[in-house]
Symmetry: C2
């Protein structure tokens, strides 16, 4: 039976219903946003498709974050806002999706075409008759922007928007004037799926790249593979796993690529964070004679904290839609088919590199006492043992984004963070979106209710959604917790309470500036206040509290929403960063600041890494010298 | 003594300190925003000026709303955000300031010039090396945008930015790369105040307009004056009051102009909301033979709810920087000097119109019983009697924005709303900003601690800050309550709880759509949870509760923060709107919708206007016919 027959779709339907049927076909069952007077007619049509649900967020920025988190699991996210006020409120979230290669369909309910033509001074306008300003702005942070104006082409436009968001993994802007919501279109088109195939590479372009890479793969003596975020964005998880398996090369992930490959595999050697990597990671990557960088989001990534270049010039980089070998760029090469071609031609017997099982260096398990107060370093190492297969783990920009790099993910764990865009407040919204997605993916797994195409991503279903968010970051988007509660979603929300913006406090080398402080809230009271009826809260102050929580088997079952406040010292940051950061900061200051008299950065904070009661990590090594001492406090699993 | 002598300013200071001294000179003592790695060096300099305080908001959109609310009282507001993530989060608030003519200085901490030149892929970028994208976007919603790049011109640039924000009452964007924060400049310039004088009008342009208007003033038989928002924006409160006084014409305000003139004056005849005005107002304005529209924000204002044109062609409109008489436009005429010229030349003895004291029609005080549940209509009329002189009253977009038009403001009341831009969530942020401003204005009044110029606006100091916000709207920006508490500010926060987006529910004529619902929160618990120690909360369910609250003299004294939850029926909207809205909506639908098949708007909600226990308002008159019956339920004071 055809789609229209199964779903009883009449032969003529409004274009808006057509759009929502298309989302339904892609299993995009949750749509995010807030109602507005120009978007309500759209929402009425959304409500006519029984499988779709309208999240009803608390504000548009949160909604955009949620759509982004959802898209990272389901391949695409959809957000509906209203003209002007709504779309502009969401724009920082959209920009994040653009920067981080996340497929997003942003539908904006617009004033009627006639009002735009006549330049009526409607509300939600700038009062100057300029109706195109928001569209112009949107264009700057979208891979495609369109407004439904031409009745005849509306169906093509809708399909094109969805296709572009899916293939390019970037935001697409689709404006729908209120008078266009009901344009009648032929529903039969729904019986032909949108073509979401990634374009084939041209053989002439692909072949030389594949040969060049294979040549390197065969002859390299100290090769590494580094896996970045676009592997998951481009649905190339399987191909990448197979390539790693066939070569047996040591494998690293970037912070954004964390969760993309199986970290339980012995080939996995840790997180490569450029110059901030642990010495073991840095040594292997920097002294390799061939780097194969798969699914790269960026050629380089320089921040005040990261410097993400490679020392070796012998580097092959596979981007989403291009490849780079040494200095040569090969455009129009899509990641997935390139990997497929590589795998097809690869003869493992010709590989010179011999895989050696290296002893994973485990940090000495110097145990603090149960009565000791918590430290970041210990917490991140401990929590790692609590993670399950198929967890979805979301970390906020800040200490959590660094701490998570100390953990090893079990098989099929999905990681979500915003390492490039780094918009504080993102993670709680993303947690909502991910929770919806996980719920839907579980539903699909448990009952085959559909004949729709299923995509790569759906295989990696996880059961638990786990958020790590700082107290400072939580405040920016706190009300979105209400939407999580409204839908009875059941994430774990760990509030890493270190009394303010600690990473910034540390970065800026001033621990005394009050602008790092935030108002202390009673975080654990929020669940009740927002209307949760079934929930659990815990305040974790000591090492003993933390151990007890992790040992509690009922705690590990995601049967209700849980909020856990982890009390951490104010000037504590994940240990892996402390010394290296210091050195990096100094070199960054030299490199990037034209003017050298920024006296405020001279006073470094005194970070005491000892547990309050019983020191066990020793004093901080402030030098950036690669030293074996680091192996005591670096990534534990190498 | 000079400014630099009084404040012990060294002869050379960093440009950033210069900037903050300039703000201090204008008594702009609170700066809004959040810290970010590119803005922290700026904040360090802000902290060196003892009179300045850094608000430390909970997110950037809220901060922008707060800066807007502050600016409406103090003439200009200042917001500091960080590159990319920070500035984009604030953009909807900035656009609101642009639409509503509010002077805002938006300072953005940017990456160092060298990183921009080299197109380094820093975090908070889109990852494509485009550093100008945010500046381009900002340009679309600013009257001026600059980046401090040229060392020699930096002082001029700073002065120019402040001057433009002040004079044009629009947002100005000022980017400060981190390496430019410490450019040394000569502080002696601080001893010459920034020229904030509104430019003089050219005599050749001004004279004919003045003569044309005077001619109309003298001969009009049924004239009216309508006062709009730009009277306060352009510091022309006194001139406008004087003009009204000299002519004795009936005076109306627009919703955005409410609070601009003295409503206790017998000449004041109500709020003109175009076709939605009460019949008494509409009759007078529509049948007038001369409309003098002073400080107009917009020539026309058409929304799905408003239609703001005039019937008479005999209309003189004074904008901020232009005038219009009939079809002729006179550019480059500034409001304040035009008004001054008009007043100077006006001979009241030549005015033919004779002012007649009209009996103010007071609605029959049919009192509900104490046990009755509340209704919007009754609440807004009652609260009017509780307002004091010099209150600052902020109303959220939604029912409150309409309800407030039923009230009469006491002398020197300041009104804040966002009638044009209409961004839901604005009012709580604006309440924070206004509370800061009121606190500072009170301080200035009570102690002459300064030789700084004082501006028009500072005379209108109010003691209480009063916010009316719907439950749905409160959710968008709820966390900013925390900043109000953090600073121990003491506004009254009335949560008008009608369980969702009621105005939208009504507008869109569907009471059954669940997208109007919001998650029910325990609103009154927020104060404690956000850390308030001295506060009062009240839940007002019945007419008796409400009366008791208003009669409580201790309640009227703003000695602590107060939150009052007013429980209202879900499908209740302010009475003044009900019938007219219905008619307006129908005509708007006809006028604006090209496609006529929007079947969803056909079912109108059944609005029952009776009190639950004892009906006293009678049934709704669904006709738009101007009828004397309306005087029973319309604006009470005419």
């Amino acid at each position: 039976m055809s789609y229209t027959e199964i779903h009883g779709v009449p032969s003529q339907i409004p274009i808006s219903e057509y759009l929502f049927h298309r989302l339904n076909q892609l299993k995009i069952w949750t749509v995010f946003g807030l109602p507005g007077d120009f978007s309500m007619p759209l929402l009425d049509k959304l409500y006519t498709i029984p499988t779709l649900r309208w999240a009803g967020n608390t504000n548009e920025l949160n909604a955009a974050y949620a759509a982004d988190g959802y898209a990272r699991l389901k391949g695409i996210g959809c957000l509906i806002t209203t003209f002007g006020v709504g779309e502009l409120s969401a724009i920082n979230g959209i920009a994040g999706s653009y920067a981080e290669h996340v497929g997003l369909l942003h539908i904006v309910g617009m004033p009627p075409t006639s009002a735009q033509t006549k330049q009526l001074l409607l509300h939600h306008t700038l009062g100057n008759g300029d109706y195109s300003v928001f569209y112009r702005i949107a264009n700057d942070i979208a891979c495609y922007a369109a407004i439904i104006n031409d009745t005849d082409l509306s169906v093509d436009e809708v399909d094109k928007c969805i296709r572009k968001a899916w293939i390019h993994q970037k935001p697409v802007y689709l404006g729908v004037p209120v008078n266009q919501v009901n344009i009648p279109v032929d529903s039969n088109r729904l019986n032909t799926p949108i073509n979401l195939r990634i374009p084939r590479n041209s053989r002439e372009m692909e072949q030389p790249v594949v040969d060049l890479i294979l040549d390197q793969i065969y002859k390299a003596k100290n090769p590494v593979i580094i896996v970045d975020a676009c592997v998951s964005r481009q649905h190339a998880l399987k191909e990448t796993a197979l390539l790693c398996d066939m070569t047996r090369f040591p494998v690293f992930v970037t912070p954004m690529g964390k969760g993309t490959i199986d970290e339980s595999n012995a080939q996995f050697k840790g997180v490569f964070t450029g110059s901030l990597s642990s010495p073991e990671v840095r040594e292997v990557v920097y002294f390799s004679d061939f780097v194969l960088f798969v699914g790269a989001l960026l050629p380089e990534f320089n921040t005040s904290t990261f410097n993400f270049g490679f020392k070796t010039k012998n580097c092959a980089i596979l981007f989403s839609t291009a490849a780079k070998f040494k200095k040569a760029i090969f455009p129009d090469l899509h990641l997935k088919p390139t990997l497929q071609a590589l795998i097809k031609k690869l003869e493992p017997s010709r590989i010179q590199y011999k895989y050696e099982e290296t002893r994973n260096i485990v940090a000495p398990r110097l145990e603090p006492n149960d009565a000791d107060l918590l430290r970041q370093e210990w917490v991140w190492n401990e929590i790692s043992h609590w993670f399950h297969e198929r967890d979805t783990i979301i970390t906020e920009t800040g200490s959590s984004a660094f701490g998570i790099n100390q953990t090893r993910f079990p098989t099929a764990t999905i990681g979500i963070n915003q390492a490039l865009w780094g918009s504080v407040g993102f993670a709680l919204g993303a947690c909502l979106g991910a929770s919806f997605a996980v719920e839907e993916m579980t539903a699909v797994e448990n009952q085959v209710t559909t004949d729709l195409r299923s995509y790569d991503r759906h295989i990696d279903v996880s059961r638990r959604t786990i958020l790590f968010v700082g107290d400072g970051a939580f405040q920016l988007t706190a009300q979105e917790l209400s939407t999580i509660i409204r839908w009875k979603l059941k994430p774990y929300i760990f509030i890493m309470n270190n009394q303010g913006y600690s990473v910034d406090r540390y970065l800026h080398h001033r621990s005394d500036a009050s602008y790092y402080d935030v108002q202390p809230w009673q975080y654990l009271q929020f669940l009740k206040l927002f209307g949760a009826t079934s929930f659990e809260t815990r305040k974790i102050v000591t090492v003993g509290d933390f151990k007890e929580m992790l040992a509690d088997e009922t705690f590990a079952i995601p049967d209700k929403i849980r909020m856990i406040e982890i009390m951490l010292p104010q000037s504590d940051v994940p240990e892996t960063l402390v010394a290296r950061w210091q050195a990096e900061k100094e070199s960054t200051n030299k490199r990037m600041h034209d003017s050298s008299d920024d006296s405020s950065t001279n006073s470094s904070p005194s970070i005491d890494l000892r547990f309050t009661k019983r020191p066990f990590l020793g004093s901080t090594n402030q030098s950036s010298h690669v030293s074996t001492e680091y192996s005591q406090v670096g990534v534990h699993y190498l």
